[in-house]
Amino acid sequence: MEIKDDNPESRLLYLAMQGDKNAFGSLYMHYLDEIYRFVYLKIGDKLVAEDITEDTFAKTWESLPRIYKKKETIHNLRSWLYRIANNLVIDFYRKRKPIENIDFVKPENAPMLEESLVENELSDQLARAIRKLSSDFQQIIILRIVNELSHKEIAPIMNISEGYSRVLLYRALKKLKRILQKGRDA
């Protein structure tokens, strides 16, 4: 297998596929927060989200030799990671009921000013509303709006076309708006 791209991520991945743990550790740190956010917004529990994030990378590491032996490569590591994370979230929900009351994790070292309190409250409200959406709607909002992936990147993760990804985003935002509206009315 040869490195087709010359970017640092491809190099790190190539080394990781040869068993270099440090290279894989660097990739882990690069994607940690992104994957954590994706999992946390779907699960709503800080500790579980951290565990699932770690598991996502452990599972990726385990599958690397298999891919290497087939003389293949992971063309899109990000999409690969999201798919594994999503499967782990599904497994988690199969085993456990969703957690209703979540604790929003505020960025550490941030002063607890009135403004940030309001911001936290808003984020908490949004996170709760997201969890009330269907899995597809959750995923499209987190991937496109929160994690800022393009529809081109989202399509292989969700196994849909780019066009449908756009439609899905619109529907998801509409549904989310309705949920938030209901919450305010109540």
Binding site: M17, Q18, G19, K21, N22, F24, G25, S26, Y28, M29, L32, D33, Y36, R37, Y40, L41, K46, A49, E50, T53, E54, F57, A58, W61, E62, L64, P65, Y68, K69, F104, V105, P107, E108, E119, L122, S123, L126, A127, I141, R144, I145, V146, N147, E148, H151, R166, V167, L169, Y170, L173, K174, L176, K177, L180
Partner: protein
Amino acid sequence: MKEPFEKVLEVCIEKIEHGYTTIEECMSEYPQYQNELREMLPLVNSLKTLKSMKASRSFSNNARNRLIENLPNIPVTFFVFIRHLYKKQLFYLRRRLYMPQIIISILVILSLLVGGSYTVQAAGPGDLFYDLDRAIEQTRLRLTEDPLKSITLQLQQATERLEEAETKLRKGRVDDALDALVAYDEALTNTSKYIEDVQNLNRETLRSMIQEELALQQGTLNRIRLSWPEDAQARNAYQNALQRSNMGADMLLGPPEIIPKRPSEDAPQGPKQEDAQGPNEEVTQDPNKEAPKGPNQEPPYGPKEDMQKGPVNQTP
């Protein structure tokens, strides 16, 4: 041509993301979707705040080291495999290689234990494990402290001898069957001696127990009789066994008079006791003379010496 709203929304989101435009500018750029954009774009902006969410610092700080420590060493190429082998880091792989051997060994040991104990248990005269079987029986007997339990065990072992004789006979191994019958005779003699030596036994319980076991033995003896070959030596051994069994509880316990009885019971039992005592007492003194005869009406013979002499000289 009117652009679909999904596309317009995407364009606006992208432009706002990169800081090229604002919500208001976007709404004025697409007046036909003004209402929808007014509804969606502020929500998108609010959702952007969620991007500040991060894993806790305590988790992030050690995340890299923790993951690296927990990742298993997976050799991906032949050379890496050799390197791992050289470094003796293949414990995981070795364990996987050894597992089938370990499982097979456990299965073999288990089958030997289970099958072996069954083989020993089922061994009869002439079998490889017969001596071992007898040795185990003797050990069990020595370990039994309760006299009543010991007698039960001895009687069960005698029954087992008879069953061995029956099995051997069915297989056509007459010599082995003869050995089993001699062993049966010995077992009953030993039991009789043991009962004589032991004091303070509940005689009534003992008698009923012995009778029960002897009834079983009688059944086996009858089956043996039906399939016994017309051979003088064999008949001789069979007669001995039958005689022992017929003598039953009286032989093992001695005459019934030794059983303590209430005075009121003595009178009606008088004549019966005499009847019972007569032959039994004589049998214990000299079984060759007066012992009860078997179905063929042939005289019984002593246990072992008589057999060795041969039945020709002894038969009247």
